[in-house]
């Protein structure tokens, strides 16, 4: 019996996991009706085809552009707004409950309203992604501001720190780790927003690829797209985690 702690044993189990999953998929796909499922090999073949024809790159590019626009706008509005609220205690107390409420609300439910007010063009889709991303960032930034101990600000004040010094040395280091947690959540939600917008507003990008392959019973194409979007999700999530870890390293110090 292998010692489960060694590195080879660990990689062996991971390899077994991947190979086992692929084998299971292949077997199940071969047995099933081709309209319902496709074997792993056929999925990979279809994926290669989609890469070669440029179909995948165009869709992925469209979706990523949508994601980047919505997420970027959310980041550059939610962060400053959150930081502003973090120094204006009255405003923060006044608004934080409502922000919490909106953050807890299933944002997809607003898509029909956006559809009927703003139509189904790129701008409306950006608005959907923006709404999915904005509130997690704002909410977590405010959490961070709440976690900054007032004593720290008082000490800084009693050493005659100016506003700028308080921001640089107390507020930003205190709120940033939390804001980054929000950024990670926003990345995850933003991706949901992208696909939802592409499904329910005008079809485009990855969402359109999913819809058309589903409607044409091109199961291999559908599974290939799902595979791609899963990998995209994993990559973005890893990016979010890396960002969060990079900035939470000092979180312990401010508490």
């Amino acid at each position: 019996m292998l010692n489960p702690e060694t590195r080879t044993a660990r990689w062996a189990t991971y390899a077994a996991s991947v190979l086992g999953g692929a084998a299971l998929w292949e077997l199940a796909g071969r047995r099933a009706n081709p309209a319902v499922a496709a074997p792993f090999s056929a999925t990979l073949q279809r994926l290669w085809e989609m890469i070669e024809t440029g179909e995948l790159r165009a869709s992925l590019g469209g979706s990523l552009a949508l994601f980047a626009t919505g997420f970027g706008i959310a980041l550059f509005t939610a962060l400053p707004f959150g930081l502003l609220l973090s120094r204006m205690r009255v405003l923060r107390v006044a608004l934080s409950d409502y922000i919490l409420l909106v953050n807890a609300m299933p944002m997809v439910a607003l898509i029909p309203f956006i559809l009927s007010i703003f139509g189904l063009e790129f701008g409306a889709k950006v608005l959907v992604v923006f709404l999915f991303c904005f509130f997690p960032i704002l909410y977590n930034t405010i959490e961070g501001a709440d976690s900054v101990r007032p004593e720290l600000i008082e000490v800084a004040r009693s050493y005659r720190s100016g506003e700028w010094a308080i921001w640089r040395d107390v507020m930003l280091p205190g709120t940033f780790p939390y804001a980054m947690t929000g950024v990670r959540q926003a990345i995850g939600r933003g991706l949901v927003g992208v696909v939802a917008a592409e499904f329910f507003l005008s079809a485009s990008g990855i969402g359109q690829l999913l819809m058309t392959s589903g409607r044409n019973f091109d199961t291999a194409g559908l599974l290939a797209t799902v595979l791609v979007i899963t990998l995209l999700g994993v990559a973005l999530m890893a990016l979010g985690r890396a960002l969060e870890d990079r900035f939470t390293a000092w979180r312990g110090l401010t508490r």
């Binding site: 409420l101 807890a104 997809v108 898509i111 029909p112 009927s116 999913l210 990998l231 999700g233 999530m237």
Partner: protein, 281 residues
Amino acid sequence: MRRAEPSGAAVATRPVRDASPRRSVLARLSSSTPLVKIAGGVLVLGAWEIVVRLFAPAYVARPSSVARALPQALASAGMLRAAGVTLRAVVEGLLIAVLSGTLIGLAMGRIRVVDRLLKLYVNGLYAMPMVAILPLLTIWFGYSPAARLATVVFAAFFPIAMNASDGARSVPAEYLEVALACRARWTDVWFGITLPSSLPYLLAGLRLAIGRALVGAVVAEFFISIDGLGYFILFQSRTFHHDAAFVAVLLLAGFAVGMDALIGWFTKRHLRWYRTGDSAA
């Protein structure tokens, strides 16, 4: 009056905090939090009302029109039925996800091989935007309530499984050593020690799962057009009844906040022993 006193005495007898009158007003204002919160609400609703009145077409929902539509919408049979259907699907899906997710999560946390075999898939599918699975689920389950249930289960399963496995791994080693020394059966180790000890993690997972399950149910109803709160919103807003549709959105938000509050209350009431604030989220 203050000027009449010698300045040294004033400094000595007064706390520094009250030195400037501007600050004391602010402090007083922000210490009466309920008032500030109500003012904040009035501000938000007022801004919404004004913006919609000035810039948006008449059918767009605004606070006053939603308030007017509220009693009628809440009393309408259609909305109540839709809410019941959706809520039921969410609860059923959550139950399935909690049972299966807890079992698989515990197995992942307790047995290393299981963890390594499943981890890639659980983490990967958790990171996948769940909306993307909808076309596949409609092929598998048809355009039916079963597809909605499957979506809810899919949305809720992974956070629960992940948190259950984290929880199972966090069981203090001493507990397990004592259990081993007493020759406890594995069922006792699993369900007598590991499960209760990972309860806070499970609840954190459930919190995540509830939000995702609601989103899953609504998205599924949009996608497959079956009766429910999501479809109600879609239908009403398509026919420009935004006020009624918005009441449904409020109902959804109420579900989300209500279920979350229930879990928060449960944690506070029954899991006092657990340090709050650093559960897995």
